[in-house]
């Protein structure tokens, strides 16, 4: 029983199955209808388009349900309902508006398990995340904004705010219910009415949210939900009665929307892509920094606009960090998203999987060095192993473009100035992470990073009270906090 002798070859840890967790699938059964209509004027309606699309479980490739595709006539109807509901909703006593928001928040909490399972089925994310992050955070956003509804006079001292009217909101597939909450809660708190379009691959939880609106007796037309793909979104954005468009999604679509809206007088906020840097200095708490980096890039399979996809490591600790990174990544559990012990679930769609693979190929062909975890992948479904590249040059495609998948690009720096220059050398500016045990360095670096959110010794922390949004091609406008109310209010002068 003496310590093992020192070995010459590089020591390796073995994350095998000496003791394995039994499968721990979330057992809650969730009823899913065969077909879903559009939620307009407080009712589920058959689409005038008569057209439907399949929504698929990306972990099994099973079709879960058919979801309506809204056409121009459907969008017109939804906007008309929102427009008709607006006068009464805006004049409702603010404390009454708050009550609806509180009820929605509580109902989300009460139905949390069901919503979490549905989110995981429809989107592929681990149940651990939908249970512990998506659904509780969605409830928090309604709670938070419920608090503002009757205090709007105090948001911007000396100025009063009025609602705008009908707000069109288009949300992405990475945090379906949470993004719906981010969009709907502030709009309603400020007295606006809403037409929301969920992403085409993940409509189901937004439609469940519509059921919750019915349950709490939200007046018809205050929120309408139209499902569909890009054409539906374009029709929504272009509609003359829309006063404000809020979009979260890809930079390309965001730019197109901005071009189309130019001169229309409509307000616009965009929350777009990112290529966020995570910077580890040699005085950082390295084990925790590595945990944070792993969390930063592999959370939700990397389908996170603020994912820390560029890792900058100070040269002197590069080897140490890479060794730990590998160890940590090998311990990640990839597979059945419904299993409570799964860390990485399925890639959201076959299309996104193809995009990720294309970037991995680009990384390899341009000369970066690829590593992947040895995780076993299920046979059915869309999967990608946690992947990281070393020897990445700032000019490589995988260092420039958003991949939106579990792929990390590792680069080095020598001095704080170099770290800043490299970190800011990107068309994006959504988020950044700084890892150092030295407080003065945190303030220096954080104040000079051009990013909407800078996390220090942490990553991917969210709070309804904290504004979120980007610089440069990551968009404009903020969501959450006081700042997040501004896009939904017309302030008097």
């Amino acid at each position: 029983m003496s310590p093992s002798p020192k070995t010459a070859s590089k020591p390796e840890l073995d994350f095998g199955n000496a003791w394995e967790y039994a499968a721990a699938p979330e057992g809650t059964k969730v009823a899913i209808d065969a077909k879903y209509g559009l939620f307009i004027d407080g009712e589920f309606q058959k689409p005038r388009s008569k057209r439907y699309m399949d929504t698929v479980n990306p972990a099994t490739e099973e079709v879960l349900a058919k979801v309506a595709i809204a056409n121009q006539a459907d969008v017109d109807q939804a906007i008309a309902a929102a427009k008709a509901a607006f006068p009464k909703w805006r004049r409702l006593k603010p404390s009454e508006r708050a009550k609806y928001l509180f009820r929605i928040a509580r109902r989300i909490q009460e139905r949390a398990r069901e919503l979490a399972v549905l989110e995981t089925l429809d989107g592929g994310k681990p149940i651990k995340e939908s249970r512990d992050v998506d659904i509780p955070e969605a409830a928090k956003h309604f709670f938070y904004h419920a608090g503002w509804a009757d205090k709007l006079d105090y948001v911007f001292p000396g100025r009063k705010g009025a609602p705008l009217g009908v707000c069109a909101q288009i949300i992405p597939w990475n945090f379906p219910l949470l993004m719906a909450a981010w969009k709907i809660a502030p709009a309603l708190a400020c007295g606006n009415t809403v037409v929301l379009k969920p992403a085409e691959t993940t409509s189901l939880t937004a439609l469940r949210l519509a059921e919750i609106f019915q349950e709490v007796g939200l007046p018809p037309g205050v929120v309408n939900i139209v499902t569909g793909a890009g054409i539906t979104g374009a029709a929504l954005a272009a509609h003359k009665d829309v006063k404000k468009l809020a979009f979260t999604g890809s930079t390309d679509v965001g730019k197109e929307l901005a071009r189309n809206l130019a001169g229309s007088g409509k307000r616009l906020t965009l929350e777009l892509g990112g290529k966020s840097p995570n910077i580890i200095f040699d005085d950082a708490s390295i084990d925790q920094a590595v945990d944070g980096v792993v969390q930063g890039i592999y959370f939700n399979q990397g389908h996170v606009c603020c994912a820390g996809s560029r890792l900058f490591v100070q040269e002197g600790i590069m080897e140490e960090v890479l060794t730990r990174l590998q160890v940590r990544i090998e311990s990640l559990r990839v597979g059945d998203p419904l299993d409570k012990n799964t860390d990485l679930g399925a890639i959201n769609s076959i299309g996104q999987l193809a995009t990720i693979k294309r970037y991995i190929e680009a990384g390899n062909s341009e000369g970066a060095r690829m590593f992947q975890s040895k995780a076993k992948l299920p046979k059915q479904g869309y999967w990608c192993r946690p992947t990281w590249f070393t020897d990445v040059q700032p000019s490589h495609t995988i260092a420039r473009e958003e991949i939106f998948g579990p792929v990390l690009s590792v680069m080095s720096f020598r001095t704080p100035e170099e770290a800043l220059t490299r970190a800011n050398n990107t068309p994006y500016g959504l988020a950044a992470g700084v890892w150092t045990d030295k407080g003065s360095k945190i303030f220096e670096i954080a104040s000079r990073l051009k990013a909407g959110v800078v996390w220090c010794n942490s990553y991917n922390r969210f709070d309804a009270a904290s504004p979120f949004g980007g610089y440069k091609q990551s968009g404009f406008g903020r969501e959450g906090g006081r700042q997040g109310l501004l896009p939904y209010l017309e302030l008097n002068s």
Partner: protein
């Protein structure tokens, strides 16, 4: 290179994440048996007597006569004066005899007295020595004094295994825990151990994680394995399984054995037995259905 530091918020969040691992059915059964086999069944009371040591040793050899597949625990842990009795009682049943020495738990005597304490235990047949570090010297910045003491104790141990107790509750900060762990390993510790059980807080998941990560750093740098023993405060099977999950995901398969991981505990074993009874019978068992030791 700066000293290795620990971010408190992040390490506590990471440690808590292991509590969300779902350990059920066969995995739970295997885990519980593994936990039982890793226990240093301990009695360290002023009121310890020969009768108490007899009961402890019998329980260690055969934790539960109605659950014959439960293995013996890893070791019994007693004061030096009870080592020879324990040695005699555990015989060749595969249970080690561990003894706290070096003026446990405070360590507030001079080095020759500590070494005498260690020699007494070793000569009486202890397989393992659990020493306490000189926390006074450590907190006064006299790291060399601490290291020299550990080296001297290691020498006095001869072939007996050395577990070095940091008493993390007195070191207070994680940065101190890292420094004390590194220092102990460098000075010859075979195991590092959180606590005496006499100071609160004793073992926590986060302080154990900090020590496991220090062991991991040492292993990745040198290839040398060091054992880990959280002690004090782990009284439920559920807690122990969370520690096991943390061990599995931090150091991997090689450490999932009593050779490299121990629980210092007195009441944990009975909760493990209750859980095993429940898995066997599908029913909860009353606490009086398992024996006191």
């Amino acid at each position: 290179m700066p000293n290795r530091t620990v971010d408190k918020v992040a390490v506590e969040a990471r440690a808590a994440s292991f509590k969300t691992r779902s350990i059920k059915k066969e995995s739970k059964r295997q885990g519980l048996l593994m936990v039982a086999s890793m226990i240093d069944l301990t009695t360290l009371e002023g009121k310890d007597s020969a009768a108490k040591v007899r009961a402890l040793c019998q329980k260690a050899i055969q934790p539960d006569a109605s659950l014959p597949h439960v293995p013996p625990v890893a070791a019994v842990c007693v004061y030096p004066r009870w080592v020879s009795l324990a040695r005699e009682l555990v015989g060749d049943h595969g249970v080690m005899v561990a003894s706290v020495a070096t003026a446990f738990p405070s360590g507030q005597v001079d080095l020759p007295t500590k070494l005498a304490d260690v020699r007494e235990a070793v000569e009486a047949g202890a397989d393992e020595i659990d020493m306490v570090i000189h926390r006074g010297a450590f907190l006064a910045g006299q790291l060399q004094v601490v290291a020299d003491e550990i080296r001297a104790v290691k020498d006095a141990c001869g072939t007996a295994h050395l577990k070095v107790i940091l008493e993390t509750g007195e070191l207070e900060t994680y940065d101190n825990v890292v420094r004390a762990s590194e220092l102990s390993i460098a000075a010859g510790a075979d195991f590092i151990k959180t606590s005496t059980g006499k100071v609160s807080p004793a073992a926590t998941m986060s302080v154990t994680l900090v020590m496991l990560e220090t062991i991991r750093s040492h292993f990745l740098a040198t290839g040398q394995m060091i054992g880990m023993k959280p002690a004090g405060g782990i009284s439920t099977a559920k807690d122990a399984l969370h520690y096991l999950a943390m061990l599995k995901e931090t150091l991997g398969d090689a450490w999932l054995t009593p050779q490299w991981f121990r629980f210092g505990a007195s009441s944990l074993l009975n909760d493990v037995l209750l859980q095993l009874h429940r898995l066997e019978s599908g029913q909860y068992t009353a606490h009086y259905d398992v024996t006191e030791s």
